[in-house]
Amino acid sequence: MSRVHLLAGLALLATASASASVANAGEIRIACYSDGNECPATMDLAKRFMAANPDVKVTIDEMPYKSILESLPVQLAAGQGPDAARVTLFGTVMQYMIDLTPYVKNPAYWEASFGAVLPWTRPPGVTTGIYGLPTQFTVTSPIVNKTLFDQAGVKLPADGASWDEWAAAVDKVAKATKTPYGMAFDRSGHRFAAAAISMGAKYFAADGTPAVIDDGFKAMASRFVKWNADNTVEKDVWASTGGGYRDAFEEFANAKIVMYHSGSWQLNRLQKQIGDAFEWQVVGNPCDKVCSGMPGGAAFVAFKGSKNPKDVARFFDFLADKPVYAEWMGMTNNIPAQAELQKGGVSYKLSPAATAALAAFGANAAKVSPTGYKLSGYAQNSAIYNPTVDRLSQVIAGQMTLDQAYARITQDVADSVAAAKK
C-alpha cells in the first residue's frame, strides 16, 4: 500500500509539473541581461513583432548578468533552459546552441551582415552556421574623468602612451584631487586580458592550445598586483568580493576613480547616469607592444532544447532586418555588429560627450590585435578568465606569490579544459 501511495504521489507531482513545463506552440522564452537597456528595448521590438505575428508569443526574462553566467548553463544541462538567451561568453553554453541556418529566411544575408562576428558563436572546428544573432560589437577601452585631470592640472597622456605612463598620470591626478584611487578594472579576466595583450601576451601556443602564462601576461600581472598594493588601482573591486564578476562602474560614476578600464557596452550607463555631472572621455587603449583592447560581443543564441526553433528564427529574422536592427542599435546605443551599419546608418540619441565616446570606441575597435580575436573566439575562454581573476585576487590579498599564481593558473586552465573535453 505504501508503495502504491508513494507512486501515486510521485505521479501526481510529475503530472502537475509536466503540465507546467510544456511550452505551447508558438511560445518562446528568451533569457536576457542588460548592459544598459537592451532587454526593455528588445521587449518593445518584440511587441511590434507579436502584433505582426499573432501566432508567436515572445517572453523576455530579464535576469542579472551573473545568472546568465552561473545559472543558465545548469538549467540548459538539466533540459530546463529557455528557447534562447543573450550571452557573451559563448563557451559556457556552446554545447546547447543550435545552428539556425535551416530556419532563417535568408542565410546569405546573415552571412554577409554578421560574418565577422558569427565565428565566435560557432563550436570549435565548425566553420559555417548561424549560431546566434550578434546584438552588438564591443571593445574594451579606458574611460577617464577629464574633470579630475583638469582640476589636477595634469594633461591627458597622448595617444600611444604606455600603461606605465597612464598609471603614473592617474596616480598624480588622484593624489592632487584627493580621489581615493587612480583607476579600476572590472573584476573580469576579459578586461585583464585586454591589458595583458597590450603588454604582448599571446594566450595561445602555436598549435592553438591555451598557453596563458608568458612574458606579456607576467608583465601586466606584476604591474596589476603592484598597482593594487599602492592604491593606483582600487583594491576593493578585485580583492573584496570573492568569486565572480563585478564591475566598477558605480565607482567611476561617483568619481571615486580617475580612470575606468571597461568597455563600449557601458556607453548607455555613462550617458544616462553620469550625464554632465563631470566630463568623461573615452581614450585610446594604452600601448606597450600593441595598443589592443579586447573585442567582444553579445548575441542572442537559440538552444537545442527549444520546441519552437522556427519561431525563434522568425523573431531573430525580424530583429536582424537592417532597418529594425538599426533602430535597435539606436535605442540601446550599441555599436552594431551588422557590417553595413558599422559604416553608418544608425541614428543615435547621444549627447556630444557620448558621440565622441562612440567614435573613440570605434577607433579602439579598429586596433584590436589578432590575439584578442582569437581569445574572444575561444570556446573555453571562461576557463582562462576565471582562474586569472581568482588567482590574481589571491596574490592581491597577499595569500600567494605571483609565481605560485602563474603555476596555479596554468594548472587550473589545463584542468578545466580537460574536464570540459570529457
Binding site: M1, S2, G9, K422
Partner: protein
C-alpha cells in the same frame, strides 16, 4: 475565525473516505505506513536519492550534468581532492581552494563556536537574573536570529564600508579608518563576529530555558550556605546546565561547519580566500565556475557529510544524556 475553522474542517475531511477505505483493508498498525508515506516520499526524493546521485557524481568526471553522460573515473576525484605534498599548507595541494576551505572552516568553527557559546552563556546568565524589562532584553538579543542572512550581510556591509559609520566613529576618535573587508584578518574577524551576532540569540534562549529549569530550591539552599557566586556557578549551575550546553555546542558546531549565506553575500569568500569556507568551495566548483566540475563538488560534499555524520551522532548522544 469561524470561516477558518470551517475551511480547516472541510479540507481535512477530504481524505476521510480513502483513509477509511485504507483502514478497512490494513490490519494491525500497518495503516501507520499510509501516514508516514508522504514524509518518507519527500525524504526519499530529496535526501536519500541525492546521496546516491552524489556518489555517482563523485565517481565520475567531466562537466556534464546528466549522470548517464559522465565517464567513470573511480576514486580520482577523492584522490585529487586529498592530494597534497604537505596537508598543512594548502598551497602544496592539487585542490588548494578545497584545503583553504577546510582550514578556514576549522579556524572559523573554533572561534565562532567557542565565542558564541561564551557570549550566549553570559547573556543567558544575565537574563536569568531578576531584571527590569527582561522580556525586552531577551527579545533584543533574539531579534537578529529572525533576519534573513542576506539582510544581515547587507546591514553589516553598510556599516563596515570604507565610508561607513564605524570608520566615521574611528576617525572621530582619532584612529585611522580601516578597510574592514579588504584585510584578510579583519574580514575573517567580521565573519566570525557577524555570524555570532546573527545566531547567538537562539542559543541564548536554549541556555536560558536550561537555567530556568534548575529548581529554585537548589539555588536557595546554596544561598543559605552563603556559597560564593563563582563557586556556586561552578558547583551547581554549570553541571546542571551541562546538557543544554552540549546541545548548544553541537548545534552550533553543525551550523558553523555549514556556514555559507551571510559570508557569501558579505565577502564572497574574499579577500583572496580568507573567508572561503568548505560549502562555498562546493558551491563554486559545482555552480559558479566556467567549467563546472560536479564530480569534485560531490566528492567534497561526501567528505563533508562524513564529518557532519560524526557531529550528528555526537548530538544524538548528547540528547540521550540529557533526556535520560
Amino acid at each position: 475565525m469561524k470561516i477558518l475553522t470551517a475551511a480547516y474542517a472541510a479540507v481535512m475531511n477530504l481524505p476521510e473516505r480513502p483513509m477509511r477505505w485504507a483502514q478497512g483493508r490494513l490490519r494491525g498498525g500497518r495503516l501507520g505506513w499510509v501516514f508516514v508515506a508522504p514524509n518518507l516520499a519527500v525524504f526519499a526524493l530529496f535526501s536519500f536519492l541525492p546521496i546516491v546521485i552524489d556518489i555517482v557524481y563523485a565517481t565520475t568526471g567531466g562537466a556534464q550534468l546528466l549522470p548517464s553522460e559522465r565517464p567513470y573515473v573511480g576514486a580520482d576525484n577523492f584522490a585529487s581532492l586529498l592530494d597534497c605534498t604537505n596537508h598543512l599548507d594548502p598551497n602544496t595541494c592539487t585542490r588548494d581552494l578545497f584545503w583553504h576551505g577546510i582550514w578556514n572552516t576549522l579556524r572559523f568553527v573554533v572561534f565562532q563556536v567557542g565565542l558564541m557559546l561564551g557570549f550566549s552563556l553570559l547573556t543567558a546568565l544575565v537574563l536569568n537574573r531578576k531584571i527590569m524589562g527582561r522580556g525586552f532584553f531577551r527579545a533584543m538579543f533574539f531579534y537578529p536570529v529572525l533576519l534573513s542572512p542576506v539582510v544581515v550581510a547587507l546591514i553589516w556591509k553598510w556599516i563596515l564600508q570604507r565610508e561607513g559609520v564605524l570608520n566615521a566613529g574611528f576617525m572621530a576618535a582619532g584612529v585611522t579608518p580601516v578597510n574592514w573587508l579588504l584585510d584578510a584578518n579583519w574580514a575573517f574577524f567580521w565573519s566570525v563576529f557577524i555570524s555570532i551576532w546573527a545566531h547567538m540569540g537562539f542559543y541564548t534562549l536554549i541556555l536560558l530555558a536550561g537555567l530556568q529549569a534548575i529548581p529554585a530550591e537548589i539555588h536557595e539552599a546554596a544561598a543559605m550556605d552563603a556559597t560564593p557566586p563563582l563557586r556556586h556557578f561552578r558547583r551547581i549551575t554549570w553541571p546542571l546546565l551541562m546538557p543544554s550546553v552540549l546541545v548548544v555546542f553541537v548545534l552550533g558546531l553543525i551550523r558553523a561547519v555549514q556556514m555559507f549565506d551571510e559570508i557569501y553575500v558579505l565577502t564572497g569568500g574574499g579577500p583572496g580566500t580568507a573567508t572561503t569556507f568548505i560549502v562555498q568551495y562546493i558551491y563554486k566548483t559545482g555552480f559558479a565556475d566556467g567549467v563546472r566540475q560536479y564530480g569534485l563538488a560531490a566528492a567534497a560534499s561526501l567528505l563533508l557529510a562524513g564529518v557532519l555524520l560524526v557531529l550528528t551522532l555526537l548530538q544524538l548522544k548528547g540528547q540521550r544524556a540529557k533526556n535520560g
